[in-house]
């Protein structure tokens, strides 16, 4: 029993990342009808927003510390971040420590801007072209974005730690009445899951309870009629593209402490996210979220020792296997609407 709970918990954080990326992909597909292969790159750009902010705030100047000396007996030169000068040492250190959560604020405007520029500048011209062309041009864009990031940040992963308060793990098993040290779970993964749940909830609430969201949903159902009612649906869809980009970017920001970002992390997640979207059903938002968590948990179950001993290699292929089976037996995915991309 405790092993099962442990695997479910382990699956949650990866599942959250899948769900967030797949949610963004589905938003774009549902509103604009575009298959966006550059979505993984948006995830990666989000992660690098966190790296950038942590670099900006720890930007420092050298100060000579008279009280300490180096091994030659000269006064020691210490790097002091500018932020210490402005806010005092205690507040400054706290801000640097909390750089990853702070990056959320930093990333939202950047990601929305990136998304809107992408949509207006490039993807707008591809609505009328076949899906294959959309895949190809966004695939090219993904390569370009990835190479730009690689040029500025190098090819190696950049470790960016979580705040001190969330480092380490806690004994989840002891809290719910199992023996001690059976279910150990890192704090940050729990934070990531809650954050993902919050974002997913926010997106759904936005679509469900605001007028803007209502218009967008109407546009997803019948774009032409909404246009005939005198609503500028294109503008709203552009904003939705920005929001989808922001969702992917935030998923990237918070993923940084779990996995140090490198320039190809987007591509690694992209392939899996597409599989997630297809399993969930093209154009179905709840389907994308459900499939994201489901596949994340399945993946972590498949990497249990007992399962691997039974079927060697299953942890590597489980997601693809599930996707193939779903695609062949239930063409519209788990929760896809009838008639949407069913051929």
């Amino acid at each position: 029993m405790d092993a099962i709970i442990l695997q479910i918990l382990n699956g949650l954080d990866k599942g959250s990342a899948y769900a967030l990326i797949a949610l963004g992909l589905t938003l774009i597909f549902g509103t604009l009808g575009v298959v966006n292969f550059a979505h993984g790159a948006l995830f990666m750009i989000g992660a690098f927003c966190a790296v950038t902010l942590s670099r900006i705030i720890s930007f420092s100047h050298e100060v000579i510390d008279e009280t300490r000396t180096d091994f030659l007996g000269n006064p020691l030169k210490v790097d002091v971040p500018y932020i210490y000068d402005w806010f005092g040492e205690a507040t400054g250190a706290a801000i640097i420590d909390w750089s990853v959560p702070l990056s959320i604020l930093f990333a939202i405007p950047i990601m929305i801007a990136v998304g809107v520029i992408m949509e207006r500048g490039l993807i707008k011209h591809f609505y009328k072209r076949p899906h294959a062309d959309q895949i190809l041009v966004t695939f090219g864009l993904a390569i370009v974005l990835q190479e730009i990031i690689k040029y500025y940040y190098g090819a190696n992963p950049i470790p960016t730690p979580a705040p001190e308060a969330f480092k380490g793990s806690f004994d989840f098993g002891a809290m719910i009445g199992f023996a001690e040290n059976t279910i150990i779970y890192p704090y940050w993964r729990l934070v990531y899951f809650m954050f993902a749940a919050l974002i997913i909830g926010a997106v759904f609430a936005f679509l469900q309870f605001t007028t803007f969201g209502m218009v967008v949903r109407a546009g997803m159902a019948d774009r032409e009629t909404v246009g005939l009612l005198g609503i500028n649906i294109d503008k709203r869809f552009t904003i939705m593209f920005g929001i989808a980009a922001a969702v992917a970017g935030l998923a990237g920001v918070m993923y940084v402490p779990i996995n140090p970002p490198n320039y190809h992390m987007g591509m690694d997640f992209l392939v899996l996210s597409f599989v997630v979207v297809v399993v969930g059903g093209m154009g179905s938002l709840p389907g994308a979220v459900l499939a994201g968590f489901l596949l994340g948990i399945l993946e972590s179950f498949a990497s249990m020792r007992q399962v691997i001993d039974l079927i060697p290699g299953i942890n590597q292929i489980i997601i693809y296997l599930v996707a193939i089976i779903i695609l062949l037996t239930r063409p519209r995915g788990l929760m896809g609407r009838k008639g949407v991309m069913e051929d």
Binding site: I135, L136, G140, I143, P312, Q316, I324, L328, D343
Partner: protein
Amino acid sequence: MLGLKKKDATLLLIVIGLTMFAPFILNPFPDGSAMAQFNAGYPDLMQRFVIFGIFAIGFNILFGLTGYLSFGHAAFLGIGSYSAVWMFKLLSMNVIPAILLAMVMSGLFALLIGFISLRRSGIYFSILTLAFAQMMFALAYSVLTPITGGETGLQLALDDPRVLGASQTAGGNIPVPGLFGMEMRNSFDLAISSWVFTFNVGYYFCALILIAAFYLAIRIFRSPFGMMLRAIKSNQTRLNYTGLNPRPYTLAAFVISGMYAGLAGGLMASMDPLAGAERMFWTASGEVVLMTILGGAGTLIGPVLGAGMIKYMENIISKINSDILHSWFAFLPDGLEDFIVAIVYPFIGKGWHLTLGIIFMLVVIFLPGGLVEGGQRIAKWLKRGKTEDTKPGKSTEPAE
């Protein structure tokens, strides 16, 4: 000639000319000159030109004719490589059985994967092929290590049980792949004043196969079977309504193009008897898509051009470094020189992928027909320049 129309025969002759005289064409600059780094006429690179040419021709039979975009074609390349290396290990160092087995194995896998994947079309087909390829990559990398060599890749060893032939040469080395005594790595250098042209056995072997593959592709394009594939691309529903089942045709195209990929993989292993799982990774599948689109999907010569261009860029542009750039722009005033070098620098050397991505995007946006369409447009523009008042003929669009 050979059952070809005049236009296709010209195309075939062009390809024959290009491949046979490649050592000359690709080495236009004398050795030791400043431009010598643009020479691509060394065996390793020339072999890659033709091998990826074959791969792209095969991919084009599927994507260019039927419009089914496979994102997992590199899997067949990998299977071809593995089969060929196993043939070298077990049977003999002759390349013929290795290549035959590579084609048969990749054909069988293509039959299986195609049979399942072709139940769906459009983006679903792309994802299914991608999923299969990723599965094979993951398995080859981990569980199938006894067969595939895992992370280190499959290599020849000194104690291979080679049935026809010795496991070691007289000198105690691993024998090299050959064709009835001609070793693939043998080269013959021809020095004409300061030019050095290298003629490599392996390259000419690959080039002959490329010509055969190209000829077969022309015949497929012009055959009733090819017409049927085009019909599937333009309107599958209408084809269904006329009472035809498109599935056997697409499956046949998928298997043929998988066998082309296997052939390319087998040749790759014949040139360098080594196979690794990274050949099956999905970026490798993406690369062949780039080649085909860049050259011109659905055209005969496009994929070959695209493969050549990408491999040329990969090897030549990636070698340019900032010193070379500085020497090029040395004639400019100092500040301007540094400025231009700083602008150009991200696009060369390690950044060649960026150049590739940008060129690819430009091609998809402005030239959906690839380089071939670009060439046709230029040709048309030149023709119009000569005869001012002839209007371009009305093209007939099929009614939808």
